[in-house]
Subunit: 412 residues, 4 copies
Amino acid sequence: MSISETVEVTGHLMDSGILSRILDDIREYGGDYVIDRFDVGHDAADVSRATITVTAEDDESLQRLLMRLQTRGVNQVDPGEASVVEADMDGVFPDGFYSTTNLATRIRLDGRWYDVENPEMDCGLIVEQDGGSVRVYTLPMSDVRTGMKVVCGASGIKVSVPVIEKGSDAFGFMESDVSSEKPQAVLVRQVADGMREAKAAGKKVLWVGGPGVVHTGAAPAMVQLVKAGFVDVLFAGNALATHDIESSLYGTSLGIDLAMGRGVEHGHEHHIRALNTIRKAGSIRAAVDSGVLTSGIMHALVTQDKRFVLVGSVRDDGPLPDVYTDVIEGQRAMRAELKDVGFCLMVATMLHSVATGNLLPASIPLVCVDINPATVTKLADRGSSQAKGIVTDVGLFLEQLALELVPDYRRS
Amino acid sequence: MSISETVEVTGHLMDSGILSRILDDIREYGGDYVIDRFDVGHDAADVSRATITVTAEDDESLQRLLMRLQTRGVNQVDPGEASVVEADMDGVFPDGFYSTTNLATRIRLDGRWYDVENPEMDCGLIVEQDGGSVRVYTLPMSDVRTGMKVVCGASGIKVSVPVIEKGSDAFGFMESDVSSEKPQAVLVRQVADGMREAKAAGKKVLWVGGPGVVHTGAAPAMVQLVKAGFVDVLFAGNALATHDIESSLYGTSLGIDLAMGRGVEHGHEHHIRALNTIRKAGSIRAAVDSGVLTSGIMHALVTQDKRFVLVGSVRDDGPLPDVYTDVIEGQRAMRAELKDVGFCLMVATMLHSVATGNLLPASIPLVCVDINPATVTKLADRGSSQAKGIVTDVGLFLEQLALELVPDYRRS
Amino acid sequence: MSISETVEVTGHLMDSGILSRILDDIREYGGDYVIDRFDVGHDAADVSRATITVTAEDDESLQRLLMRLQTRGVNQVDPGEASVVEADMDGVFPDGFYSTTNLATRIRLDGRWYDVENPEMDCGLIVEQDGGSVRVYTLPMSDVRTGMKVVCGASGIKVSVPVIEKGSDAFGFMESDVSSEKPQAVLVRQVADGMREAKAAGKKVLWVGGPGVVHTGAAPAMVQLVKAGFVDVLFAGNALATHDIESSLYGTSLGIDLAMGRGVEHGHEHHIRALNTIRKAGSIRAAVDSGVLTSGIMHALVTQDKRFVLVGSVRDDGPLPDVYTDVIEGQRAMRAELKDVGFCLMVATMLHSVATGNLLPASIPLVCVDINPATVTKLADRGSSQAKGIVTDVGLFLEQLALELVPDYRRS
Amino acid sequence: MSISETVEVTGHLMDSGILSRILDDIREYGGDYVIDRFDVGHDAADVSRATITVTAEDDESLQRLLMRLQTRGVNQVDPGEASVVEADMDGVFPDGFYSTTNLATRIRLDGRWYDVENPEMDCGLIVEQDGGSVRVYTLPMSDVRTGMKVVCGASGIKVSVPVIEKGSDAFGFMESDVSSEKPQAVLVRQVADGMREAKAAGKKVLWVGGPGVVHTGAAPAMVQLVKAGFVDVLFAGNALATHDIESSLYGTSLGIDLAMGRGVEHGHEHHIRALNTIRKAGSIRAAVDSGVLTSGIMHALVTQDKRFVLVGSVRDDGPLPDVYTDVIEGQRAMRAELKDVGFCLMVATMLHSVATGNLLPASIPLVCVDINPATVTKLADRGSSQAKGIVTDVGLFLEQLALELVPDYRRS
């Protein structure tokens, strides 16, 4: 016995290789397919449309396959109505809950379509009805509470893939793969353009950074970028902030004497003392206000009234008083800063880049810069398909970016 | 004006290059030195002893330099008495607190020497006097409370470097550097010997693992090693446990179909559903007891009554109900499992390896295995000088390790 | 003004993403296209066929685009007759020469189709007519001589892509990407199967190796594989052979004391002396015959009457007397050994792997094993589309491979 | 039975860790030692001197150990007279030949000391006596001819380690290790200083480059550096030159469309056609003279009358007519350009960097820049102890270097 559903997908299906991936998914999930119809654009500019009947062993398998296909932008031809089940435990979704994509999503309830407020992947969809008004929003598993209405199965749900204009796209250059063999100066310029466009559109620029920003000597460049208005929010961990502060207080960063360009193995004594100093002050802002902290990235963010969210990890010393030690609370604090973000730059951190990639909707352009190809690859592998990777030196990249974006930028 | 102190260090000073590093440290901290006396062993087996007068600008600089030198095993010739100051804030050490090494440490109070109970680096030293009895122990910054007595400055403190027998040492092979160009089969055998020796001495074997253990297909080998008694404690994150459980429930691990050897990009739908299933059960043990979870690494640990500590990170989905979401609480839970650990193997995780390296005393042999040289280098750079690195494939390494340690081991 | 040609391509076009790459190529070369017809298979097993009209600015651009598309298996619907021009300089092709792919190729002359004898990419096609008999073969640029007849333009040429059976293929597991996160034990087994199949079909197994084979301690495993008949030909450089011989004569390999598992920085004194010893003997075989060389990989190849081709590089010391110091002569010697090769394993060398990848026809299965992902990626980027990559430890990989292939294999 | 010799070494023995390495060497070669005397400098600025009696099993072992120790700058206290043996075969040194270091070397014959003309490692020392005049020079193994007088054993030979001023050295910053975590902008400035100093001293700047220079878009920066006089000689392979020429002729480099910043998989058709074009012209200079080649790095070298040596490898297509296809002849051509070189920069090539490192005397400052840490590490491991490594992005590095060195440099 088997069960089928007819789905459709529209777009530059062949150009983008998306159709191959859809058929791969069907096989991966043990399903089968018949291509009912395939309207191919005749010209390069035309859009293709495919209608496919997918078959699975049973309804549960089919529903899961349909959810999987939605991550590719595949919708049911006749989606029907969304099905809603009440959660009966805190922190646990009902069986068969709909697992979200990071695409723009709508659901149909009682014949009407509702937009999902905040696309985020790997969440559930919660329906709130209050009189005539209906809200649908994503919620992570840990935040669901007994009695909440959770969408189950794949019925009644449509997703939309962000349309990327072939050729005209500022990020067309990075279409293919992660590579260290690309004209890097061109890439810098295009990232600068992306930031300028976001600011011009009234959007915020989100940075996600690791301690490598400080180690590679890029802190002065980043400070200038903060002052020039190109850093609205910073997501980071205890390490970036502590090394930045350590560098400001003692002129070192975990053993790098930046002024002299001399490296030492490790200098944890400076590190741990910098942490104690800020803990004594009470917070980074308090340390700035009291004149203890007078330079660096964190100082610039505070004095320029920019936002930052620091989330801890198990390897942290200290940590700084501003750090969320509970990672789930940290994720909530990050989510709260995502509104109006129009561009995201991730620099020199795998942990916080993957964490941010998990939270961002697919519609936000995202560039990941790291000297380690694995970081960029990992990000893409986790499903942040909008992620573009640049494998390059973080220090020189930010130096060049400041040269592009900050008028009269000179290293002092 | 300047201030001086005479220090001494003993050991295979020239063989090990330790003297160069000591002199480098003095320069790094802006100090100066005169070598007062240097008794060099005439024969290869002899021990050298150096007496050095170090000079710094002022007392604060000198104290900090002396603390730094203690990480190399350098002690003051006339250490005097330890100085103790009461903490006047929760979570903050007094200025000038002694920042610990991970070496065996003693402090002198009122003319008597006391052993520090639990060496751990980057902590403070707390003195507790109760009637005639005196305890001295390390405490991380976040756990200090107002009124606790904290050792300040470098006086009255002696450290001892673990003696490594040249040549006879099981880990002599790894003396030099991280390298992928070493005879790997020999290394596997020597790690196996290290584990056997620890078990023979009644000690525990601690594993620190990342999800790569599951992705590389090494879970069956690790299950056999658990059953054979070579895994007493596992430190990991949400990822290893979830991918292991996902693999057990659905035969996949973030997109790797292990049975078929086929990879997919990502399969978060399985991932998120596995998390929901265990959250519904209440805990990993509950899922084993109720028959939901019937195989894999976590199943083996539960059924063999072994310990595990899972500490979360900001990129986690779910997480599993067993995961510490507060990283500081997670560190405390890890510390609580360190007693009687006699060998530590770190596999395929940078985050949890560095975290564990921060907690372990220098006396515990520690081997870090990763295909990424950066992970191993990072660990060594952080000051875990006892860390030995093997750059190799995790899957094949654990397969070979099981062949060495598990009688009649065959992959099924 | 512009000029057009109608082309066609057949196969699992959407599954394999080949169609997207074809359309990308057309854009890369500044051309345009109209898809005239696209017959999509309804079922997963069906083959698709596309007919496309491609347009370019002028005939030269069109011819070059058509040559480019042939690397994807795209042929002209009406290929017409091949056009032949005489070379008028030694070592130089006529303008507009057809640049070959590594696919099975036929050309049409006077209405008849002829098979190209030895597909190899980046060569020219030479036509030899002797009475009624016609030969067509590939020839590298440096070997062309005045008066030879060289095919020009893309007319009259058809290529065939090797058919890879979906699912049933032994190498299906590696379909997707280079990855270090794959179940390695499964991969080893499948490489073993590939070698067994080649031998069962009466084909030769070609190895391409770098010095890492010796450094990782895998020489004993490789020696056993030679003796068991799974190494028919070895392509390598001066380094693998010298380190192997050095290890045999002195127990070291560029500073690795294999017996003790101890590493040193470099030990060029052994290295240079080993080279002198073999040069004095006259050749590797002479050194074996005279009892100077009594163990190791090269010894095994000589005593088992297996073939090897050593080609030098600019960094070589010595070199060994058997090494081709002229790289073009070295390439000729490699080509001469390709007949009847049915499987190729490349281990721990980028230079010789890329060199061999350049020479091999697309029909020969090829697996590249290296701990460095860049090596594997580079090979694939160069157009060896049949190349499958395994990022793993070479030492443990060959150890496992010997366990699979050599009855009663035990490390001595 | 055993045999001994007394040796001495002078310098900052403890600072530099050199003494530990000497003692390691003795153990590696199975020898033993007694430290007879060790005069340690009291102050940081003082030089130490050690006198050591080394013992080996027999004379051959001792001689080889003494040669090994000379690579560390260790000389015999009483070196005696050099022993000379006639070669009795072409291309083969006599048994027991002295294997050279890359240090400044003198030998004693008939009571007089003679400077070795051209220090190069892994060579033999040839003595030529013509009447009263005596020459001593290094010669690679392949160039020795029957009847030449070759120095054997370690007697009568002294080497001198180049003195590196602590702290004042322009390259002090790179003293420690290969690292990607260093302030890159500082490093660029210091490399620029090194080049300026060499030019000011009337010395030549040698570049060694790989195709990554072109792929990363750095060719325009390098062209400006050629024109500004900071590139006197280029050592490279067929690939750099061909990709540069391909980029000039077709605007691509192995699939990188530099103008648009778009990457493609591979574009060998352009590549092979560029080779044919230059082969037709006869040489790169002929192609420049005839107006075929009008831009790029090779064009700049030709029009600025700078030198280049291109040496081929087994993976080459073509190759260009200027390429030495015989690698031993290529090495000779490289040697011929080393006179008066005062600074060497190696960029994005492992093969040619190691080759050049083999030829250079230890006295020439050498910086190796690559995004791949393995390249830099490999170079250092091979014995080029004067090599300093910078792990960074080649494209951005050269862009910054041009900003430092070329007045009014702007990217067009």
